[in-house]
Amino acid sequence: MSPRTIARLVRGSTAFNTLNVRTVPIHFQRSPGVATGNDRGIEGLEFQVLSAGAVIQRGRTPADGKIDVRLPTPQVTVRLLVAGVTASEYTLSVANTLDPVNGLSGQKQRLRMLGYQIGHDGADGNGVDAVQNFRFERSVLDFQADHGLFTDGTANANTQAQLTTQAGA
């Protein structure tokens, strides 16, 4: 990632340079299907946020598992650590890259974010494609069961609304 470019100012100039940092709230929650009541947040997980390979933010998740990830550059990596060792990594982008929730790919993206096992089909190998398959149906069933919805395995309007709420977008 290239550095931010700013202007040197001559003495007496009234101009300035603005640097704006965006944050994105991310909730870390326990695996779906685990009976934890409403308290799904993962507390005390060590995390690091990296931009261009350098750590720009570090800390531990609070009780609700929610952290505000800083995005000084359009893309950052969030790294979760267990006992000081990297357990998983996520790439976050400023742009809203989620597909609409009324389409299969958008539903699969949200299920994957929320930790449901949708497999590894599709061009990117992350399971996000527009093909109806049994893993998708099972994930929808799990999701509906987790949220007390009518369990029919189809992403109906109620399910789509709950997906939007849970995924945050």
């Binding site: 990632m1 290239s2 550095p3 931010r4 470019t5 700013i6 202007a7 040197r8 100012l9 001559v10 003495r11 100039s13 101009a15 300035f16 340079n17 603005t18 640097l19 704006n20 940092v21 965006r22 944050t23 931009s51 261009a52 350098a54 720009i56 933010q57 570090r58 800390g59 800083r70 995005l71 000084p72 550059t73 359009p74 893309q75 982008s93 400023v94 742009a95």
Partner: protein, 205 residues
């Protein structure tokens, strides 16, 4: 009047060229032979690589002093400044400690109520690292000084959008659309005069 023409390279500004030639920046900027450049760019802080600056020959000054004695001559140091406004989600990071490292020279301070910080830097400084905050809550910015292009160029628009937190790295038009959406301007993806004026206002120049 004698002098030379200097072609601006990326990273140069009036202050850095003036420092290199050992004269105050006003002498370059206000020189009659640079009048058209002044009209074109309006702003001495931002030049485009390829711009031509007329550099007048240095003034010669004669001083008579006795031999076999020590004399002291003082030269005004050529410096520039940086003024930066730090925001988080468009809100100022006010009253926050910062550390600024300009080409290895470190300084510290606290941002004011509007999230502003100002520091004097060598006119030819190229790189800076700015850390704002303390403890676990620190923003680190790597800055390239003097490489901002004029706002009427695509690269100048891109640099300003990136600094404001818009994703214009690979797709400038998408970044412009994001900016227009946020500013409630007509979303065209094109940099028209209204968009440019708003960008200048939001970025600070």
């Amino acid at each position: 009047m004698s002098g030379t023409r200097h072609t601006v390279a990326q990273g140069e500004c009036i202050a850095s060229i003036a420092k290199q030639r050992g004269m105050p920046w006003e002498k370059l900027w206000n020189h009659p032979d640079n009048a058209s450049l002044k009209t074109l760019r309006r702003d001495p802080n931002v030049l485009l690589p390829g711009d031509e600056v007329f550099v007048p020959a240095p003034d010669t000054k004669e001083e008579s002093r006795a031999t076999d004695a020590r004399h002291r001559f003082e030269v005004a140091a050529t410096t520039a400044k940086v003024k930066i406004r730090v925001l988080v989600n468009d809100q100022p990071r006010a009253q926050t400690p910062y550390r600024l490292d300009v080409d290895g020279t470190k300084s510290t301070g606290t941002t004011d109520g509007g999230g502003f910080l100002e520091a004097v830097i060598p006119a030819d400084a190229r790189e800076a690292v700015l850390e704002v905050g303390k403890g676990d809550d620190v923003d680190v910015f790597t800055l390239a000084l003097g490489t901002l292009d004029p706002i009427d160029t695509d690269s100048g628009v891109q640099g300003r959008l990136l600094a404001l937190g818009f994703d214009a790295e690979t797709d400038l038009e998408a970044g412009v659309r994001d900016f227009q959406t946020k500013e409630k301007l007509p979303v065209t993806g094109r940099v028209d005069d209204t968009t440019r004026a708003r960008l200048r206002e939001k970025f600070g120049q």
